[in-house]
Amino acid sequence: MSWRMLWRDWRGGELTILAVGLIIAVTSITAVGFFTDRIERGLKQQSAELIGADLVITSSRQDVSDYIEEAREQNFEVATTTQFRSVVVFEEQLQLAEVKAVTEGYPLRGVLRISNTAFGPDTAITDIPAAGDVWVEARLLQMLGLAVGDAIRLGSSSFNIRKILRYEPDRAGDMFSVAPRVLMNRADLDATGLISAGALVSYRVLIAGPRDRINSYRDAIDDRLKQGEQILTFEDGRPELNTALERAQQFLGLAALISVLLAGVAVASVAYRFTSRHLDTGAMLRCLGASQRTIIQLFTLEMLWLSLLASSVGCLLGFVTQFGITELLDQLVLAHLPPPSFKSLLLGYATGIVMLIGFAIPPLLSLRRVPPLRVLRKDVAITPVSGWFVYGAVIVCMFLLLYWQIGNLGLVSTVLAGILVTLLILALAAYLLIAALNRLRAQVGVAWRFGLANISRRPASSVIQIVAFGVGIMVMLLLSTVRSDLLDDWQQSLPDNSPNHFVINVQSDQVAGITEYFDARGVSNTRLYPMVRARLVEINGQPVRASDYESERAKHMVTREFNLSWAEDMQIDNKLVAGSWWSSQDFGTPLLSLEARLAKTLGLQMSDVLGFDVNGTVIEFTISSLRKVDWDTFNINFFTVVPPGVLEDKPANWVTSVYLDAEQRQQLGQLVRKFPNITLIDVDTIMKRVRTIMDRVTLAVEFIFLFTILAGLAVLYAAIQANQDQRRFENAVLRTLGAKKTTLLLGLFAEFTTLGALSGLLAGLSATTLAWVLAETIFKFDYAFDISVALTGIVSGILIVVVAGMLGTRSVLTHPPIQSLREGAA
């Protein structure tokens, strides 16, 4: 019977919207579910591959032969990688690359994949590049206009590009890498002259062997690790990826849930209308002797069938949709994703059912209370289900869904409260806008007056529609317009000729030559800064241990290598916040000027004594000043600066940043040829890369928020559907009174234009406000208010709502005017 009822009611039209609402919700949830699940499993499956070994020792020491020998003695498989950034030269062109020099056997876990052409079929290979050859990422070929077989220069050597590198197991996507990979043989490395003392290089010893012996070896060397050294095992795989994944999962899940909430609003309003239309059926059934329970069972079952059908469709669509997200994001995260699993289907069906229980069933419950008397008298009052019950059900269901997605009770409560407060504020704003609109009515023509009247006569419904669309458009605006605004604003906040190139890895004896080079090409006052690598070993005489610190940042900061620089004068853009800068009498005294935020992170104060291990000897520096540094600029800055005359005899490495115009940039080839070991970093390319990454990530997120807009449409259609009869009838009356078709059209147009404009305005304002808050609190720069954001919001709001609204209501126009004589007012 419930099946037959479903069939019959389907033709009524409301159920279509109910189903569409459910489908939208289930689709967005499952799309995100499928995607994150694939990445999660991919990470687990590939975690050994992700480090290319069972155990990896990372070190900044050039000589790691002690570990290598030790591992060999224990009969482990061993390989090493040496990674650094360097400039690849081809004819006059330069390109920063991430060079990785590997030894035989690399990778110990997982395989490399190579190909002969950029997009041709790739094959797995167990070899490494032969001496004199390099394998490069296809990106590099595009950037330099190279082909396989061409020769490139790296430092003092020349290499043949032999293959295209398609996949490296221990390089999980190119999410954060700016420069393309060049893979070379370790045997060629020394000849390039790229590895000089103090150069920024990461050395890794890769070790593989039986699990238990690896574990005991790990325990054995754990205590012997030196500063700047770290052990990675496949268990900790890629911790930053795991956190990133967790964040992404929460964020995308949240985005999907906003769609669920909006779709839920559509479902609830349709359920209300469905209920009121079925009061008579309910009353009739009760007259015929059906019990309250039978009636509820009947309708609940009907809804259950419907939600199962809708969930199935939603799951299917979600499955298809996740391919879209994967397409946008997978290369950024993992190179090869496992196929989707069906775990997410469970989530999809659960969402469908939970939505049904939360949004559709509560209104239906009033059917139970229909008095049989209603068959005789239409105006017999029915006790509606308590509002608290309905809203309570909604909130509980949202809570459950959120908890499932986020899995953290505190966070869920905060997020839910945040969503509710935001929606309330938006609703209040929408309500005020509608009230303001009412004043306008006396000033406009008949069609517009009718349109506006249609909005203000049903304030609750209008508020819901405005908010529903407002949220969707707001997110879209924030993601697209405002995001690029934020980036642009930041770039614009930089002075015009702020440095656009970094020169690093300069040796002490090259400083004069480099300065001369730039002077000769019109880049004056190039100042190079010395850096001496040092490890923090003592604070006030006590040895430094990472475990003494609570915050991750502090742990990271104390174990990383410090770059001590020396200078006579303070950088002009620094600001002293404590102590004083040294004078010439202090030269030669081990004083230290520390960056203020770092001091705070590590809990350091003025006059604290820091013992740094510099090239084997410990020097004790006394903190004599704290500085504030503006890291947003591309000027060279250091956490730790000491007076001249202390570190000059230590191996130093020099860096500088310069502004080069297009012509000067052309000539950089000469610089690299003259000083093959230096590394040039082009800021513009980095920025471009950052931008592309941001674009792709936002695109994927926008993709999810597309469902929010769709859910907004479902809300609109639910509202249209809810008063379709009334609209029909009123249009018939208007026609009877002599209104032309164009007048009616104009009335509808006015109504939807206004609705769209209001939600767009609301969206624009809130997106701008949010962007401003973000700029002020997180990015810390002045956000330039942009009227075009609000305008874009309004225009897109109008476009979406007018098109959808007019399509949804076109049937009322064809309703014959004679009906005005036959139907009563609703």
Partner: protein, 230 residues
């Protein structure tokens, strides 16, 4: 009082209406012939389902006949399309319905202004205010229909119907939903305005007393004209 009783204002010629339903073709009206002179009042009587509303709809051009034609003010409605007929209604025709049919989103004033604006009459607001004052709703201009009683709503509807000074007014059981006392007052108001403006009045009703006030009575039975006291 305007004297133009000699001219025919509304005429039905061999009017017929059939609808196709799933059970077959249903004849609602057949061979209706009658004419009403300008300024007169005609009552259309008949049992429920006899076709009164259908006839009224055809005469006002709300629906198109399957046979015959309607001549309104010398113009054959068949020659006009939906919008053309709407234009004629906007300029010449007023309506009073059984269910008042006020637009619930608009205030009383806005409801009365509506036909004036549709006909692009000058000073719609002033005219509407005067008319509402005339029907005794001068204090209720900005109230919405659901804030008015049934009788007040019908008075508002009458004000709306007369706002454009229609040449012809159609009323479909204007008192059907009102108690007899209120109904009587509504009818008085209707005829008062009718004679003031010299409007042709065509009214469907099954109230014999009411029909007696009209100049003429037409009797409908199952879609046929069985009595015409002309």
């Amino acid at each position: 009082m305007v004297d133009n009783t000699s001219r025919t204002f509304v005429e039905a010629r061999n009017l017929g209406k059939q609808v196709t339903t799933r059970e077959g073709v249903l004849t609602l009206l057949e061979k209706i012939n009658f004419s009403a002179a300008a300024g007169t009042s005609v009552a259309i009587l008949g049992a429920s389902g006899s076709g009164k509303t259908t006839l009224l709809g055809l005469l006002a051009g709300l629906d198109v006949p399957t046979h015959g034609e309607v001549i309104l003010d010398g113009r054959c409605l068949n020659d006009y399309d939906e919008d053309g007929r709407a234009q004629i209604r906007a300029e010449q025709v007023g309506f009073v319905f059984q269910n008042f049919q006020l637009l619930f989103g608009l205030t009383a004033l806005e409801n009365v202004m509506l036909p004036l604006e549709l006909a692009q009459a000058p000073h719609p607001r002033k005219t509407a205010e005067q008319l509402l004052d005339r029907v005794g709703l001068g204090e209720r201009l900005h109230h919405y229909p659901n804030q008015l009683s049934g009788g007040e709503q019908q008075r508002c509807a009458i004000a709306r119907a007369f706002s454009i000074q229609p040449r012809c007014l159609f009323a479909d059981e204007p008192t059907g939903n009102l108690d007899s006392e209120t109904g009587k007052r509504i009818i008085e108001l209707l005829f008062e305005l009718n004679s003031e403006q010299g409007t042709t009045l065509i009214m469907a009703t099954h109230d014999n007393n009411l029909s007696q006030i009209c100049n003429r009575r037409l009797q409908l039975d199952a879609g046929r004209l069985v009595g015409n006291d002309d």
